[in-house]
């Protein structure tokens, strides 16, 4: 699968906001398998871009296509099949069910199109150090813990592209490298791409492409 960005500009942007950007107003192709790092300082529209690509927002000019189909024309039904099979996401604002247990939060994603057996949840939680939180309500976990829940959740399904929006912002260096290793491993397993948006370039990410937003 390929994701194509053709001259997209958020409708609410002033011209000076995107001059010098390597994405806004340009033609960019993301192909399955390549890892892309989008370096985006605050206010450059990082989260907007991730939401545009995931199809949550439509307030942009230009075209975003999945497999040469304009996603502006997709129904929610059609998006749901892509979101189950091709595109997974880790939101900056996490978006967990706060009144559900950690395990339920992850299981809700896993059962939709299982890539891993349920035991994998325990294994990943152990690796990221939140195994003892699995039966707690999500809202009782710290932000750093919630970030790791969101990461595990995103890895429960098959995908060609994993969109990551500042996924490690609240993790210490140790946890950050553990989490990155897990994400990298899972992407390699699927031969999938990471589209990784963060404020600055990361030392441990040997990305193939760096794009400045």
């Amino acid at each position: 699968m390929q994701i194509l960005l053709q001259e997209i500009i958020p409708t609410y942007f002033e011209k000076e906001q995107f001059t010098g950007s390597e994405i806004w107003g340009k033609n960019v192709t993301f192909s399955k398998g390549e890892h892309v790092h989008i370096v985006a300082p605050s206010g450059s529209g990082k989260t907007s871009l991730i939401h545009f690509i995931y199809g949550l927002r439509k307030d942009y000019e230009g075209t975003i296509s999945y497999q040469n189909e304009n996603i502006k024309n997709f129904s929610l039904e059609k998006f749901s099949t892509f979101r189950q099979k091709n595109v997974s996401i880790i939101f900056q604002d996490l978006r967990l069910f706060s009144d559900q247990t950690v395990r339920n939060n992850i299981e809700l994603k896993r059962q939709l199109n299982p890539y891993h057996p349920p035991e994998k949840i325990d294994e990943m939680a152990r690796r990221l150090g939140i195994a003892n939180k699995l039966n707690r309500l999500a809202k009782t976990c710290s932000y750093g813990e919630q970030q790791r829940i969101a990461i595990i959740r995103a890895l429960m399904q098959p995908f060609d592209f994993l969109l990551l929006d500042e996924p490690f912002s609240n993790l210490d260096d140790n946890n950050r490298s553990k989490a990155f290793a897990l994400v990298k491993e899972e992407c390699d397993m699927r031969k999938a791409s990471m589209i990784f948006a963060d404020l600055k370039q990361l030392d441990f990410f040997n990305e193939e492409r760096v794009l400045k937003l």
């Binding site: 949550l56 998006f79 749901s80 099949t81 979101r83 069910f97 009144d99 809700l108 059962q111 939709l112």
Partner: protein
């Protein structure tokens, strides 16, 4: 999969409106179904005696016989008939012409029965059952007869005591009746053949052509004033009609129309009950739709997140809607069972003595029950889908 998404729906609030709507749906279904069953029962129990036809009543009027006018001429004159015909409440009127000679009937050797008889004739359009064989031409020796079904019933009451066989509506047509007509010129025999039974007209009817011919031939009269007139009216209980008849001292034979009226009134009451039932069902479904809207609005964030995570809107609508199917099935089945018990009690307790009515509900009532269930499930699904798509 269903277990894990249901806790995401905020179903705990406004439970009262949920239960009221279930209860209302149940009551509405019971009302509608029992009204239907009662309508069918009434139709079944009262069906054979309905002399109304195409919305008209056919009733006979005679002049009231009092001590003062006894022995005088109490027949209707032409101008009186024309006056009756001209009344707005009366659509048509026809005289019953009777025989002006003596006639005796016997049933041959099989049934040793003989009696003096009277014959009458009326316009064919006033007879409820006119077979194509009901006509007569001069020279024909067989006379078709339409016999009152009340007379047949009467005959069957006294026949056993006279050691005569009882007759059914079908066998009576095969009885050979000999009509002996006594005229000035002597006796002439005709073969009488009962071709139909009439619920409407209490008489022994022969074709008009035979009556005119025989009155002329045997009675020597060409013009006969009738003692009875049949009227055709939309409403036998029209106050204007009744006051006119009273003022004229005419007697209205309302026995048969009363019966039809009662049936009509009963059916109207039961229909009104059914309409009320439909209204209650609609209200219950509306209340439920408000409850659904509220629930979906309260669970909006969770549902939106499910869609964001990749849950299909169609699957979500179906799953959310499916939650209520067991409740709907329970409510409608319970309502059908209650209706069935009520019907059973009606058949058991009521005056119905013969095994006329089945103890079970009519199939159409069950079909409507199933239809209502399907309707509830379908509206529920549509509502959920609509509300979800508006998130």
């Amino acid at each position: 999969m269903v277990q894990t998404i249901l806790p995401l729906l905020n179903t705990n609030k406004s439970k009262i409106s949920k239960w009221i709507s279930y209860f209302g749906l149940g009551i509405g279904v019971v009302l509608l179904l029992s009204a239907m069953q009662m309508f069918i029962n009434i139709n079944y129990l009262l069906k054979e005696n309905n002399p109304r036809k195409n919305g008209y009543d056919f009733i006979s009027i005679t002049k009231v016989i009092t001590n003062e006018n006894m022995g005088k001429d109490n027949t209707f004159k032409d101008d009186e008939i024309n006056e009756i015909k001209s009344l707005p409440a009366i659509q048509d009127a026809a005289p019953l012409i009777s025989n002006q000679y003596r006639v005796k009937a016997s049933a041959g050797n099989i049934i040793p029965f003989s009696t003096d008889l009277f014959l009458e004739s009326i316009d064919d359009s006033f007879i409820d059952t006119v077979p194509p064989t009901f006509n007569w031409q001069p020279g024909q020796t067989t006379v078709p007869i339409i016999f009152s079904s009340d007379f047949l019933e009467l005959y069957n009451v006294f026949a056993p005591s006279q050691e005569l066989p009882q007759l059914s509506g079908k066998t009576i047509s095969s009885v050979n009746i000999v009509l002996e007509i006594y005229g000035a010129t002597g006796v002439q025999n005709f073969k009488g053949n009962i071709v139909a039974l009439s619920d409407r007209i209490n008489s022994v009817l022969v074709p008009k052509s035979f009556m005119e011919w025989s009155n002329q031939t045997f009675g020597g009269v060409s013009k006969v004033n009738p003692a009875r007139i049949y009227i055709k009216t939309k409403d036998a209980n029209d106050p204007k009609l009744i006051s006119y008849l009273e003022q004229k001292n005419y007697h209205l034979n309302k026995d048969k129309t009363k019966f039809g009226r009662i049936k009509k009134v009963l059916q109207n009451i039961v229909s009104a009950l059914g309409v009320f039932g439909i209204l209650v069902i609609v209200l219950a479904l509306m209340l439920f739709s408000f409850y659904l809207q509220l629930m979906i609005a309260r669970s909006k964030e969770n549902l939106q997140l499910l869609l964001t995570l990749g849950y299909s809107p169609n699957w979500l609508s179906k799953t959310v809607a499916k939650t209520w199917i067991p409740v709907y099935v329970f409510v409608v089945v319970a309502a059908v069972v209650i209706t069935g018990l009520m019907h059973y009690a009606f058949v058991k307790i009521s005056f119905v003595e013969r095994n006329e009515l089945s103890y079970f509900l009519h199939w159409s009532v069950l079909a409507v029950g199933i239809l209502l269930l399907a309707l509830s499930v379908f509206t529920n699904y549509r509502l959920v889908k609509k509300n979800l798509s508006e998130l």
